[in-house]
C-alpha cells in the first residue's frame, strides 16, 4: 500500500535513529569482552569507563533500540493490516518525545553522570536527566497506542463485526497493552523514589521496594521485546520460507498471545530469588508462574516448526513422509526474492532454543543460586534478546526500509551471511559465558583489572580461557553486525528504483478456527491486571513493612559517602 510521506519519514526515521544508537551499543559490547578478558587492562578506554560503557550498552541495546523499533513495527503492522491512515501529529509527537528523551538520557550517560547500569538500582543515583529522559522515551512510546492504534482498531472492529482482527494486529495490540500495564510499577519507582532522590527532594529511599517495582516491569519487558518477534515468526516467516507458505494454526498463535498476557506479570520475583526481605514462598509462587510463561514459548516452538514443515512439504510433495529430511530444504542461505529474511529468522530461532533452556534454569528457584549474577545470565539473554529479538529486528528493519524508501536491498549477499556470523558468535559467547558462570565468573565486573589479571592478588586463572573465548565470539558477532550495517546503509543511501510502499509478507492460516473466547481482549486484560496486583501484594508488604528496617541515602558510583544526606546525620542510624 502507498503511505503518506510524513508517516513514511517517521517510520524510517525511527528505524534509522535506533540503528545509529545501536552502533554505539554494539561498540561497547566489543569493549566489554576486551576489558573482561584483560585485553584492555584499564578503568577506561577513549574516555569512557567500563561501567559507563556497560550502562550505555544495556540502556541503548535493550531500552532504546528495542522500544523504538517496536513502535516502528507497530506502526507498520497497524497501518498495513487495518488499512487506516495514521495521524502525522500523533506520530511526530511520539517520535520527537522518544528522540528528546533518548538524547537527555544519553547526555547523562556520556558525561558519566549516570553510571548506574540499565537497572539503575538505588541507592546509587544518577543525574535527574537520566530518569526524565527515560520517562520521556517511555511515554513517547505509548502515544501511538492511545491516539492512533486503539482508535483505528475500534473503528475496524465496528466496520467488520464478524471478522477476526488480523493476527499481526492482535499480537501487536496485546503487546502494547502489556507495555502500558508493565510501565505502571517502574513509573511509580521513578517518579516517587528515584527522581525525588536525584533532585534532592527526599534524602532516602527504600532500595528493596525499588527493586521489587523495577522487576515488576523488568520481567514483562522481555516479553515486550519478544512478542513483536513472535508476530513476525507467525506471519512473515512461513510466508517467505517458500514464497507462499502458511501458518499452521491461527488459533494456537492467538492462544499464545493470551497466555503471555496472563503469565508475563506475576513472575518478577524470579529476579529476586537471592534477595533478603522477601518470604521465600512468594518467590516459589512466582517461580511457578514463570514455568507457566514458558508454555506459550513451547507452543510457539511447535507452531513455528509445524508451519515450516507444512510450507516446505507443500512445496516439495516428494518429502511428504520425511521426518527430518525436510529441515534441509529450508532456504537458510538464499538470495531469491525475500528469502534472505529466512536467515535472520532461522539463526534467531536456533539461538532462542538455547535461550529457552537456560531461561528455565534461571527460573528454577533454588537452581538460580548457582547462576545468579554470574556471567551465566548475560550468556542466557544474549541468545534471547541479543539473538532472536535483535536478529528479527535487524532483518525487518532492512526489509521495511527498503520497501518504504522504494530501494533495492544492496549487498544482499552480506545481508544473508550476517545473521549466521552473528549466530555463530553468540553461540560461542553463550557457551563461554555460561560455563564460566557456573564456575562463579561474575557479571557486571571489569574482571580484566583484578580477577583475570595475573599481577593481582585476586587472580583466578580458571576463568581465563572462557574470557578469551568470549573475545573471539564478540569479534565474530561484530563482523556479522558490520556486514548487516553495510547492507543497511548501502540500501538506505542508494537511489530509489520504484515507488515507496508499505508491504509486510503475511502468511495465511492453515488451521483457522474461530475461538470466540479469545477475540474479546478486555476481560483478559482485566484478569491479567488483577492477577498482577494480587501476586504483588504479599512481596510489597514484605519490602515495605516486614523485611526492611530503614531507608538509605543516595550514593554516586565514585565514593562511599552519601550524596543526598549530610554524613553527620547518617551516623545516627
Amino acid at each position: 500500500m502507498r503511505v503518506d510521506s510524513s508517516i513514511r519519514t517517521v517510520i524510517v526515521g525511527e528505524i534509522v535513529f535506533a540503528i545509529v544508537l545501536l552502533i554505539f551499543g554494539i561498540y561497547h559490547g566489543l569493549m566489554q569482552v576486551l576489558y573482561r578478558a584483560g585485553v584492555i587492562k584499564s578503568m577506561s578506554f577513549l574516555g569512557i569507563e567500563y561501567y559507563q560503557g556497560l550502562t550505555l550498552h544495556g540502556v541503548i541495546n535493550v531500552i532504546v533500540f528495542t522500544t523504538i523499533v517496536i513502535v516502528a513495527l507497530g506502526n507498520a503492522v497497524f497501518l498495513y493490516y487495518l488499512q487506516k491512515p495514521l495521524r502525522p501529529a500523533v506520530q511526530w509527537t511520539s517520535f520527537i518525545m522518544m528522540v528528546v528523551g533518548t538524547l537527555m538520557a544519553a547526555w547523562a550517560m556520556f558525561t558519566g553522570k549516570a553510571n548506574v547500569l540499565y537497572t539503575f538500582y538505588p541507592p546509587l543515583v544518577a543525574h535527574w536527566t537520566f530518569y526524565v529522559g527515560a520517562a520521556l522515551l517511555l511515554v513517547g512510546s505509548v502515544i501511538p497506542l492511545f491516539f492512533d492504534w486503539l482508535p483505528n482498531y475500534v473503528s475496524w472492529r465496528r466496520e467488520n463485526p464478524d471478522k477476526k482482527v488480523p493476527l499481526a494486529v492482535y499480537g501487536m495490540l496485546i503487546n502494547h497493552i502489556m507495555w502500558v500495564i508493565m510501565l505502571v510499577p517502574v513509573v511509580i519507582e521513578v517518579l516517587f523514589q528515584l527522581l525525588p532522590l536525584s533532585l534532592g527532594l527526599v534524602q532516602e529511599v527504600n532500595p528493596s521496594l525499588a527493586r521489587t517495582l523495577f522487576w515488576a516491569f523488568g520481567h514483562p519487558v522481555v516479553y515486550f521485546w519478544l512478542l513483536p518477534a513472535y508476530v513476525m515468526l507467525y506471519t512473515v516467516l512461513p510466508k517467505v520460507v517458500t514464497g507462499d507458505g502458511k501458518l499452521y494454526s491461527d488459533g494456537a498463535a492467538r492462544l499464545v498471545f493470551i497466555l503471555f498476557l496472563i503469565f508475563s506479570f506475576p513472575v518478577g520475583l524470579h529476579h529476586q530469588f537471592t534477595e533478603p526481605g522477601i518470604t521465600n514462598n512468594y518467590k516459589l509462587i512466582h517461580s511457578l508462574f514463570t514455568f507457566g510463561v514458558a508454555v506459550p514459548s513451547m507452543l510457539t516452538a511447535f507452531t513455528v516448526a509445524a508451519s515450516l514443515e507444512y510450507s516446505i512439504k507443500s512445496k516439495y510433495p516428494e518429502l511428504k513422509n520425511s521426518l527430518f529430511y525436510w529441515w534441509t530444504k529450508i532456504p537458510y542461505i538464499s538470495l531469491e526474492g525475500d528469502k534472505w529474511l529466512v536467515s535472520y529468522f532461522m539463526a534467531g530461532l536456533f539461538l532462542f532454543f538455547v535461550g529457552g533452556v537456560t531461561g528455565i534454569i534461571n527460573a528454577s528457584y533454588n537452581m538460580n543460586l548457582v547462576v545468579h549474577n554470574t556471567s551465566f545470565v548475560p550468556g542466557h539473554f544474549h541468545t534471547t534478546v541479543g539473538g532472536l529479538v535483535t536478529l528479527v529486528f535487524l532483518g525487518m528493519s532492512l526489509y521495511l526500509v527498503s520497501k518504504l524508501t522504494g530501494k533495492d536491498i544492496k549487498f544482499k549477499g552480506l545481508a544473508v551471511i550476517a545473521p549466521w556470523l552473528w549466530w555463530q558468535g553468540m553461540l560461542i559467547f553463550e557457551y563461554a559465558m555460561s560455563v564460566a558462570g557456573i564456575h562463579g565468573f561474575p557479571r557486571r565486573t571489569n574482571t580484566g583489572l583484578t580477577y583475570l589479571n595475573p599481577d593481582s592478588p585476586l587472580y583466578r586463572p580458571e576463568w581465563v580461557g572462557y574470557a578469551e573465548l568470549s573475545v573471539f565470539a564478540g569479534v565474530l558477532i561484530v563482523i556479522g553486525f558490520v556486514l548487516w550495517a553495510i547492507s543497511f546503509f548501502g540500501t538506505l543511501l542508494s537511489s530509489p528504483v520504484r515507488e515507496p510502499v508499505l508491504e509486510l509478507p503475511s502468511a495465511e492460516a492453515y488451521h483457522d478456527e474461530k475461538m470466540p473466547a479469545l477475540q474479546k481482549l478486555t476481560p483478559w486484560v482485566v484478569f491479567s491486571s488483577l492477577l498482577f496486583l494480587v501476586s504483588y501484594i504479599p512481596p510489597l508488604y514484605d519490602v515495605t513493612k516486614r523485611g526492611v528496617f530503614f531507608d538509605s541515602p543516595g550514593y554516586n558510583d565514585k565514593s562511599p559517602v552519601p550524596i543526598t544526606k549530610p554524613p553527620a546525620s547518617s551516623k545516627s542510624e
Binding site: 546509587l124 527493586r211 571489569n446 583484578t450 478456527e513 554516586n556
Partner: protein
C-alpha cells in the same frame, strides 16, 4: 487444536511439571532453599565472627564500598556456618564460589544462609552486584583448614 498440537502442549506441560516438582522437592525435602525474609537479626554496623561451638560459627558480613568486613576468615573443616549479610551503603552481591551461597546485600535488610564446609580449601567470595567504581576489587575468602 489438532492432535499434534494437543500432544505438544501436553508434553511441554508434563516436562515443566516434573521440573517444578523436582525443585520443590529439593527446596522442601532436601533443604536447598533460597533466602527468605528474616526479622530476628537487625541490620548491623560491623562485621564479626562468632564461634558457638567447636564447629558451629556465625559470621556477620558487612558489605561496604568496596570491601567486606570481616576480611579473610579461617575455620576448621566440617564447620557449619550461619551467614548474615547486610550492606553499609549500596547494594552488593555475595557469592561463595563452589557453594550454593548466593546472596544480595541490601542496605536496611539482612540476608541469611547456612552452609557446611566439609572440604578443606580456599572459598573465594566475590561481590557480584555492581556497586560503583571499585566493584572489581571487592572480594574476600573463607579458608577451611
Amino acid at each position: 487444536m489438532d492432535r499434534a498440537e494437543r500432544t505438544a502442549l501436553f508434553t511441554a506441560v508434563t516436562f515443566l511439571g516434573i521440573f517444578f516438582g523436582l525443585l520443590v522437592y529439593a527446596a522442601k525435602g532436601m533443604n536447598v532453599d533460597v533466602p527468605t525474609c528474616i526479622t530476628d537479626v537487625k541490620p548491623f554496623t560491623e562485621g564479626k565472627v562468632i564461634q558457638h561451638a567447636p564447629n558451629r560459627y556465625e559470621i556477620h558480613y558487612l558489605a561496604r564500598m568496596w570491601y567486606f568486613e570481616p576480611s579473610d576468615v579461617e575455620i576448621p573443616a566440617g564447620s557449619t556456618v550461619d551467614i548474615y549479610l547486610t550492606s553499609a551503603d549500596v547494594i552488593h552481591g555475595f557469592h561463595i564460589d563452589g557453594t550454593n551461597v548466593n546472596l544480595m546485600a541490601i542496605p536496611g535488610t539482612v540476608a541469611y544462609a547456612r552452609v557446611k564446609f566439609d572440604k578443606p580449601g580456599v572459598y573465594h567470595i566475590v561481590c557480584h552486584e555492581y556497586c560503583g567504581i571499585g566493584h572489581q576489587d571487592m572480594a574476600t575468602k573463607i579458608v577451611v583448614k
